[in-house]
Symmetry: C3
Amino acid sequence: MITIQTFLQVLDLVGTFVFAISGAVAAVNRRLDIFGILVLSFVAGNFGGITRDLLIGAVPPAALTDGRYLLVSVLAGIITFFWYAGVDKLRSPMLLFDAAGLSLFAVAGAQKAIEFGLNPIMASLLGMLTGIGGGITRDVLLAEIPQVLRSDLYAVAALAGASVVAIGNVLDLSYGVSALVGGVLCFGLRFMAIRYGWRLPVAHLSARGRAEADPSNEVDQR
Amino acid sequence: MITIQTFLQVLDLVGTFVFAISGAVAAVNRRLDIFGILVLSFVAGNFGGITRDLLIGAVPPAALTDGRYLLVSVLAGIITFFWYAGVDKLRSPMLLFDAAGLSLFAVAGAQKAIEFGLNPIMASLLGMLTGIGGGITRDVLLAEIPQVLRSDLYAVAALAGASVVAIGNVLDLSYGVSALVGGVLCFGLRFMAIRYGWRLPVAHLSARGRAEADPSNEVDQR
Amino acid sequence: MITIQTFLQVLDLVGTFVFAISGAVAAVNRRLDIFGILVLSFVAGNFGGITRDLLIGAVPPAALTDGRYLLVSVLAGIITFFWYAGVDKLRSPMLLFDAAGLSLFAVAGAQKAIEFGLNPIMASLLGMLTGIGGGITRDVLLAEIPQVLRSDLYAVAALAGASVVAIGNVLDLSYGVSALVGGVLCFGLRFMAIRYGWRLPVAHLSARGRAEADPSNEVDQR
């Protein structure tokens, strides 16, 4: 009999796997060797949770004590290494799994922060960080500006999902209900952003700011 | 009646605000969206203190438990987003507030490290880190070499101010006195560096080193 | 009388020194000022151990409480600043010291993780992280893709050495024996990689992946 607990654990590992694939693909594109690929897989899959655990004082982080996260990450790296063409073709369906992983990480991350006594607003932010921290570290290691800071509602979707959990906790709702609503909201926002190209606004630059920004923009387009 | 405690808290929040502005301006120049701008604001304003708190074991960090730091950071991001041209014009006065923020962060950071049992030399370094850590993380997220590692006495001013607090503690001076002297020293050094272009020396390269360094330098100028 | 304990401490400080030299040389090549050079020296020499200590909950990290690590790092930075041409000439012998430092850091890092209750696999990974974390942080601060993620068996050698210690612990071997075997293995792998250009394979790209990867590769060659 599959319990809700088992179901959530499987989802968590699937989320880690999909995030790890994103790290492995980025590493292959930058011509890292097999070891660099595995490191990027682990980082992309687990550094969101690790950073959250460091910040709330839950050391050693779960990703370092439960071997399954490492296993799943290494698996993602190896599959990408040997089967890059195939992984490359699966980009579109992978986006949906990625949205599911983001939803789950954001919701579970917020809940863990609440359990460690953080206030609702900070718990929401730490939930978001759990969802986006892996991708940020991945891009920092590749010397790029993190994609999640510049693209289509990614971090905002995570923040929205995590906020529902935090608000639900304040209102004394059961975690199951608020996690479900938060997860669906995050997934839905992300799905609409992918489907319809929803984006957040960027600021209007003054002439002076534009002159400074342009050359750096060229580098960013790489 | 305004107490010294209230005065320091106001200064701390003003420092966070000015540092957050620096993060928001950098994010706007790199064309991040509104969310990326808010993240960079928070990072630039608070990651110095957060890193210090992680290193001395003060978790969760104060910036995550006291909501006012988040509020002030978000405010700085929103103002910069809607009023970039105005913020851009205020660069020169902002430099003085930035120097004030740096002084305060360095002094308060050193004191907190001392309270957590670090030795005087490390407390000085952690005070410096409190002052410069936000700017370093901001630049790392933008895939740039941190400005504070290459410009006009910024980190050195912070280190000098923090050292005064650490030495004062060894000599059993009252914190109020050593904080004042340290803060004025840091502010003064920074002011002179801005006013007269004071800089630290760079090393002489061998021919071989120069050949290697030149191309990378071009990229750095972006 | 020199005990094994003293011998290991001297080796640890020598390792820190050599790693710090690598940070200082990189900083000089990127034209950082004297202060930036000292920061990079400290980071390259100590951030592997600091990151490990944060992850296993050993705060404040040893590198912040034992002043000798700071002293040795600053010394490396000052020597490089004033005597860059000389340091530059010593690159080849330095590679051997670097391999020795890596071996020691990996072995000692794994042992410390075991003492803090991590399981053998994670202890191996944390041993590796102790060895490569300083170099990774150095390169991130210089806005470059970390060299250890893309070159000649560096991280793999550290992982192999750390794994021997972790396996030895499972088999109840004495730490002295497994540390010696692990250290020699790490040093030997690294020596062979330098001597014969051993490298790990990179993945085959699809046509689409190659098109995306090429421009970014140009930037990487800098």
